[in-house]
Every structure is written in structure tokens, then in C-alpha cells.
């Protein structure tokens, strides 16, 4: 078993293997597309040494993979806040930016940007084959076109700890076939027409998500729908969290003008420790291990270490009861 790792860098800095992800995918497939027979894991490490975007669309099709011999596409975002200086897969016209057409692919820590002003179906990530994961990515639409979708999921998949915003249509659209099973955990979705949608016949579990400033936060019938936040009325589903009155500048900042920051600023945040640990991802969008059961893509990170008095007080109230 070997790890085949390549560096994708649109700026062609030292050590670069390919200047676009599409070139890396096509060439590495020729070197060995059957990862199971070769007992290999394929890793695409993406960076932008001088901040140039990767503007090619990519379709990961034609690979033979398994749970043991899989593909990772790793970006270099670590903050959960949009940055113009890191690797970004970008599409300025209609189309599908990243298609996962082979099984067992994980796309993580990427920035994906759609920005066209055109007409026609356009999707940031299309999940068309089972067992793929989309984890800890920032996905946005900043154009003025129509029918823009962040993640369109047609199959059994995992969608966790992502931040999606600006989609005039749907941020996460699940339209899989009967028998497919997907989990949608701890995502933050804002400024879209619909946040999380479940159509088709698939089984979708939606837990610990945060939706705000969308026309409709959650649409469709979910098999499990718990601890999701909404700013529309009194919360939705089992243990729904109403953030209509508490959604304020403490949990939505854009101090540098580059992109919104939905990280948990303090223990008074409406997202702090109101989720469930059942099925919670191991780490948040920044790679930080969850201490409390926070909802959304960000874990509350104690800066000084140890347990502070406000946290102790909160835990006492939550777990033992107010006195």
C-alpha cells in the first residue's frame, strides 16, 4: 500500500506537479486508475503559492476505489472564512465545477467559487456516485445568474462542516434514489433561496445544521431532523433551535470584507452547545476537535485552555439543571 500524493498549484511554485486539478486528475488516472489493484491511496494536495485561482472544471470519473483505497482532494483552507490568498477552484461561467463520479472520494478544506451572471444550471459540487464525502469546504456564489446550487447530491454521501452562502437556488440539494442514504451534519448555510432540501426518494439525516437569511431554511421530509437552527419562527424539527432573535453580529462578522465569519465568538452564541453529539463529526471546519456540542461548522474554541467559569456554569445548567 502506498500513498500517491501530488501537489496542484496554479502558480507553479517549487515542487508543483500540476497547475490545475483537472490536469492532475487526468494524468494521475493514466498512471494508475485502479487504486484497489494497485493498493494505493491517491491524494491531491492543492495550494496557490501566489493566490492564482484554478479555473478548470473537474470530473473525477473512471477511477476504481474502495473504502481502503480512496481519493482525497485537499485544499488549504484552515479558518472557515473565505480568503483570497489560498487555493480556490473557481468557475465564472455555467457548468459543474467539481463532479465526483467515482466512489470513495473525499473533498476537504477547499474553497469553491461560482460567480457567473449567466443563465443555465450551474453547480459547485455534483455528487453522482456513492460513498463520497464533502467536508469542511467553503462554497459560495457571488454572481447574479439563476439556478445556482452549492452541492447537488444524487447518491449516498456525507456532507459535513461546510459553509455555503449566496446561492440563488439551493445550497444543499439531496435528490437521490430510493435506498440511498445521506448525512448532512454541522453545515452553515446563509443567504440562499433554500438551505437544505430533500427531494427524490433518498433517506437524509440532517443534524446540527445552521440556516439563516435564506428564503426557506429546510425543505422536504428528512428521516432524522434534529438540533437544526433556523431564523424562521420557532425552530424546526426535533430540538429545533430558534435563532431568529439571537442571530446578531456576535455570530456573523465580516471585518475584513472578504467573507462572512460564522465562527462562535463566545459562549453566549446561540450556536454554542445546543447540538447533539450523536453523529457529530470529529473536528470542525478549522480542524479543531469539538469540546462542546456546538451546531454549525465551527466548534467553540477556548483561547486560554482549561475550562472557564462561564463554560462550567453553562454545563451545570445544561446537564444538571438550573437552580
Amino acid at each position: 500500500m502506498a500513498e500517491r500524493a501530488v501537489i496542484v498549484d496554479p502558480d507553479n511554485g517549487a515542487g508543483t506537479d500540476y497547475t490545475s486539478l483537472s490536469a492532475a486528475e487526468a494524468a494521475e488516472q493514466t498512471i494508475g486508475a485502479d487504486l484497489v489493484t494497485d493498493t494505493d491511496n491517491m491524494v491531491f494536495n492543492c495550494r496557490a503559492s501566489s493566490s492564482t485561482d484554478d479555473t478548470t472544471v473537474v470530473d473525477f470519473a473512471g477511477w476504481t476505489t474502495s473504502s481502503a483505497y480512496d481519493i482525497e482532494i485537499n485544499g488549504n483552507q484552515t479558518t472557515g472564512v473565505w480568503s483570497s490568498s489560498i487555493y480556490t477552484l473557481s468557475l465564472t461561467t455555467i457548468g459543474v465545477l467539481l463532479t465526483l463520479s467515482s466512489q470513495y472520494i473525499t473533498a476537504t478544506n477547499l474553497q469553491l467559487s461560482l460567480s457567473d451572471n449567466d443563465w443555465g444550471a450551474t453547480i459547485a459540487i455534483l455528487m453522482s456516485t456513492n460513498n463520497c464525502k464533502v467536508i469542511s469546504n467553503i462554497i459560495r456564489y457571488t454572481g447574479s445568474g439563476s439556478n445556482r446550487v452549492g452541492i447537488r447530491n444524487l447518491v449516498s454521501s456525507t456532507i459535513e462542516t461546510n459553509v455555503l452562502y449566496g446561492f440563488d437556488d439551493m445550497a444543499i440539494l439531496n435528490t437521490g434514489y430510493s435506498g440511498s442514504t445521506s448525512t448532512v451534519f454541522n453545515n452553515i448555510i446563509a443567504d440562499c433561496n433554500i438551505g437544505v432540501s430533500r427531494g427524490g426518494d433518498q433517506t437524509v439525516t440532517a443534524v446540527n445544521n445552521v440556516c439563516c437569511n435564506n428564503t426557506d431554511d429546510y425543505n422536504g421530509t428528512f428521516s432524522t431532523f434534529t438540533n437544526n437552527a433556523s431564523d424562521q419562527g420557532a425552530g424546526e424539527g426535533t430540538s429545533g433551535i430558534d435563532i431568529s432573535a439571537t442571530w446578531d453580529s456576535t455570530c456573523f462578522t465580516d471585518t475584513d470584507g472578504l467573507g462572512p465569519d460564522w465562527s462562535i465568538q463566545d459562549v453566549d452564541s446561540p450556536l454554542y452547545d445546543v447540538g447533539t453529539a450523536t453523529g457529530q463529526p470529529t473536528t470542525d471546519i478549522t480542524g479543531y476537535t469539538w469540546v462542546t456540542d456546538d451546531i454549525g461548522a465551527f466548534a467553540w474554541q477556548t483561547s486560554g485552555g482549561g475550562v472557564t467559569i462561564p463554560i462550567m456554569s453553562h454545563h451545570f445548567t445544561k446537564n444538571i439543571g438550573a437552580r
Binding site: S20, A23, T30, G62, I94
Partner: protein
């Protein structure tokens, strides 16, 4: 000028791609890596990035109601592509690369698969955009 990165003999894979498929298009100033130069054909064309993008067919999801009566059945859906003649055709096989360079001309790749050439009848309003 635009540089096209094309599938070549070294990156050809039967049933996945075809020689001449456009993997990406890049500014004239783009500097490719040694591996890219080894694995792909790189061709300069006069078309701009926008010219090339305009050749990608429009893709749509269409639906057809099973009945005009009220029902709980989902409408039948299919994906279609629109050719230069504005006709919508079935997408039976989705090409991995949407464009190719064929005898010096940039073309869509949907029609290279015979499965994708059947036109479908749509409401006349569909063709207006």
C-alpha cells in the same frame, strides 16, 4: 490567444476520454509544469476564454408530468443538452470533457456519443433563452 490542454496518447483512456478532449484552457501567459508538458498536448488557439466557454452546450433538467390530474407521483425527469440548432437532446452518456479540439475546431463532445443525439419535443417556450 488561449492555450488548450488536450488529452494526448499518454492520457488517453478508452471509455473515459478521447484524444483531443479539452482538459482545460488557460491564458497565453500560463506556465505549465513539466508533468503537464509530458502528459498532454498543449495547443495555442486564437479564441478567447469567453469564445471557448460559449461553445459549451447549455444543460437543463426537464420534467414531464405523468398526468394532468392531481397526484403524489413525482414528474418524470431527464437531463438534456442544447445543440447549436437550439434543439434539446437526451443526455444518456455524460462526456467527461465537454469540449474537444477536432481538426483545429473547438466542438462540443455530447454529439460524439450516438446515445446523446436523439432530439426531444419540448414546449416552444423552452427554446427562447
Amino acid at each position: 490567444m488561449t492555450q488548450l490542454l488536450l488529452i494526448a496518447i499518454k492520457t488517453y483512456s478508452e471509455s473515459v476520454n478521447n484524444i483531443g478532449d479539452i482538459v482545460g484552457y488557460f491564458p497565453d501567459s500560463w506556465v505549465f509544469s513539466p508533468k503537464e508538458i509530458e502528459f498532454f498536448d498543449i495547443v495555442k488557439v486564437a479564441e478567447s476564454k469567453e469564445d471557448i466557454q460559449s461553445k459549451i452546450p447549455i444543460i437543463k433538467s426537464l420534467t414531464k408530468a405523468a398526468t394532468t390530474e392531481w397526484t403524489d407521483q413525482e414528474p418524470e425527469g431527464k437531463a438534456v443538452w442544447q445543440g447549436e440548432d437550439k434543439q434539446y437532446r437526451d443526455i444518456v452518456t455524460n462526456p467527461k470533457y465537454k469540449l474537444c479540439l477536432d481538426k483545429g475546431v473547438i466542438k462540443e463532445t455530447y454529439s460524439k456519443t450516438l446515445d446523446n443525439t436523439a432530439t426531444i419535443t419540448t414546449l416552444s417556450t423552452l427554446g427562447s433563452k
